[in-house]
Symmetry: C2
Subunit: 457 residues, 2 copies
């Protein structure tokens, strides 16, 4: 008798997720109900698959939602994060296991006790970041610990970038995911991390000037800037005694220094609306942030304000975006600076329909074993295949799909609202991911060699 998997929401990142289910549907006797506002948008090979049941569902329609969930054997929510809670509450009501790729919200966490009482598995943060980062990091950390090692340092970076073959602008960047998140990245408070036992804080306006470099063999140099809260998983990973904890975002070298120009100008601000932005030229937009002058050009004012030398390639990065164009116009009304900047960037940075994306992840594990300080670096590169089968869709969707089957097949059984950090969870999933070329390469490298006894600590 076939098992009914309910997938709610069939957006961008579900191509690989659905393929995985349907590829396994005969062997595993799966019947997949895809509930979406617009099920007609599903690709034909999915919609017409004999094991597929596309359903039109408005998630706010309580009755329809309840019927879907009651009939399911397991529920996968690929909805926007804020919508998971109502699905989770129904899963509790009807005793269904739940899988999401999103961060565990405080409201969801409040259900933990009840979820445990009912013996249900609510697995979250099992996409890319969060997801693969948790699993790949804990695999190495547990291995080091099993040998008797003590973790001193953990750094972890993830980036969604353009594949090398389509990496053809001066920023080495195109939007491969939500552009708004890219424009607002790093806002909302100072970045916080620990280095050699000392807390460090970076205000937003300095964030993109405090990067570190990372090399990936065959792919060259990258850079990382700090995420807001590097201490988020300190307890979950068992790293309360680690001296250095740092989580960051990866970009190609030079991106952050150039992006900092927008930050300095105030163009990434999303807290106020500008009047009359509809029809405003890119040039007029730039001039909003520069001092008035009756004689100097916008170009010279910007160069002077940001101290950009005549021969600095940063300048060409701005020109490549047509930032000084008097004829290119913003076409949204009463927009915030960040919204205006986003439309300007989308004009240049949109991934073409034949272009491919790339996901990179980089971990550093510093540890002490038998009195010797060592370090393991591990990194992963995943390339997109085409417009629908992106690297992002693969790295988000496959772990979700694999976990769903593991839970359905009772290979993962520990109840509760959880994230994938136990061996029972990450081991089978990482092994299955390898079959799909989602693989980490590990290197022993010299320990970074911080010296905590120094005067400058």
């Amino acid at each position: 008798m076939s098992r009914n998997i309910l997938v709610i929401g069939a957006g961008k990142s579900t191509a690989h997720l659905l393929d995985y289910f349907f590829d396994k549907s005969e062997e595993e006797q799966l019947y997949i109900t895809i509930a979406d506002l617009n099920p007609d948008n599903l690709p034909e090979h999915i919609r017409n698959h004999k094991n597929c049941n596309p359903v039109k569902l408005d998630i706010t329609d309580v009755n329809a939602r309840n019927i879907c969930i009651e009939k399911a054997d397991i529920v996968v929510s690929m909805l926007p994060a804020r919508m998971h809670l109502i699905v989770a509450q129904d899963c509790l009501t009807f005793n269904k296991n739940l899988i999401t790729a999103s961060y565990v919200s405080n409201d969801l966490l409040k259900l933990d006790e009840e979820v445990k009482k009912k013996g249900l598995v609510f697995m979250n943060e099992i996409g890319l970041d969060p997801g693969i980062d948790h699993m790949s990091a804990m695999e190495v950390i547990d291995r080091i610990r099993a040998k008797g090692g003590k973790i001193l340092l953990f750094e972890s970076f993830t980036g969604g970038l353009v594949a090398p073959e389509n990496d053809n602008n001066l920023w080495n960047y195109k939007f491969t995911w939500n552009p708004r998140n890219v424009v607002l990245a790093g806002q909302g408070g100072a970045a916080k991390f620990i280095q050699e036992g000392t807390y460090k804080y970076i205000p937003y306006h300095k964030l993109f000037r405090r990067t570190e470099f990372l090399d990936i063999a065959g792919y060259g140099k990258f850079e990382g800037y700090a995420n807001r809260d590097s201490l988020k998983y300190r307890e979950a990973y068992g790293l309360t005694n680690a001296l250095t904890l740092y989580r960051g975002t990866m970009r190609r070298v030079g991106f952050s220094k150039a992006w900092n120009m927008f930050v300095q100008l105030g163009m990434t601000d999303d807290s106020y609306q500008i009047e009359n932005t509809n029809g405003m030229s890119y040039r007029e937009f730039v001039n909003l942030f520069l001092p008035y002058s009756p004689t100097d050009s916008v170009e010279l004012k910007l160069r002077h304000y940001l101290k950009i030398d005549q021969d600095d390639i940063m300048w060409e990065k701005l020109e490549e975006l047509d930032l000084f164009s008097p004829s290119k116009k913003i076409t949204i009304e009463n927009a915030t600076p960040a919204q205006c900047l986003q439309t300007i960037l989308e004009n240049s940075w949109t991934l073409g329909s034949n272009e491919k994306d790339m996901i990179v992840m980089y971990h550093k594990f510093g540890y002490e074993l038998n009195g010797v300080k060592k370090q393991i670096d591990a990194n992963m590169v995943v390339l997109g295949e085409n417009k629908s089968h992106t690297a992002m869709s693969k790295t988000v969707g496959l772990p979700v799909a694999i976990a769903t089957l593991q839970i359905l097949n009772k290979k993962i059984t520990k109840p509760g609202v959880q994230i994938p950090i136990t061996k029972e969870v990450y081991e089978p999933i990482l092994n299955e991911l390898k079959k799909y070329d989602i693989i980490f390469n590990e290197f022993e490298v010299p320990y970074l060699g911080y010296n905590p006894d120094s005067v400058a600590s």
Copy 2:
């Protein structure tokens, strides 16, 4: 028969206010009830004055408050701004006129219709800034308009500083008012103003690098940085067609550039708490905001991070604060960066008990009259007399006191929730202020000469 003035709240800025009332109490037949949480803190000559009635009042005690207000002929609220509303509601209930030096809140504005219906005067923003700035600006603007002139430009700056005779540190600054407001100044959004008809926006992290200089004869050079919203009184002043509107804060030259070091480091951030600040040395606090290094000193890291040259006086400004001291400690727990910085600054910038403060205000009025562009600059300097009779207390308290008497004597009668921008209000008050040496000096100067037709507008 004597009239009963109720003054609620007898804090810092009430010395001149109370003196004014008591000096006039015989001639004007005034009986002054001073309601305060700690009336015993009142100076003896006030407390024992025969026309004084000191009352202990907890403002949250509804009954006691009602009794005080019902007995009064007019009410002056010198409470913190957030507490005015309950007083205002009682004033409505008991049909009493009300005077405050604070900004009109939206909640207070909602009472306007009812206040008008009852024929009451609720006069607000009648201290220094807001207050004297409104009155002195509108006096010149109305005069220019009466001649047929058209206002093109209005800029207005105010500063609370230390008197020249006690101006003896490298920052040319000491706290003469609420230190917290100084540390947080400019935060909460981009500064917005208009220059030659073009909107301009300055993000917080650039605010202190976009100053302009101002000269006051006999007092030397000052600088001004933009307030958050320079357009606040655009409609109230009738300046919707003015091409340039700018409101700012005055400091001595060099203050802003040096203050910007704290902004760049992230030390003025009040949005998160640092763990274990109690007992943290000033040096450790600085190091929280600097990159880790096993070998370099805090000093060198800071110089390099902020690109401070060897011979830049900014460096001495930091040293003067003992910022690199390993022995001076912060003594508050789990404080925000801004709270830590405040305690460090208070250690150096506290006005001595024999030291005097100074208030400066500077207006620029650009206008066109008979086809000719002209400009009037007007400025005011007020020096403090002693620790209680500060320039701040004088410039905040006297306009409040004078307005109170004018309203009590029915010289100001227009009902409603209002600010002092009509001739009926500002003329008698400015005239009375002159008797107390609160005087504006006016100068005709060449019009600033912006050229709006320029390519760079």
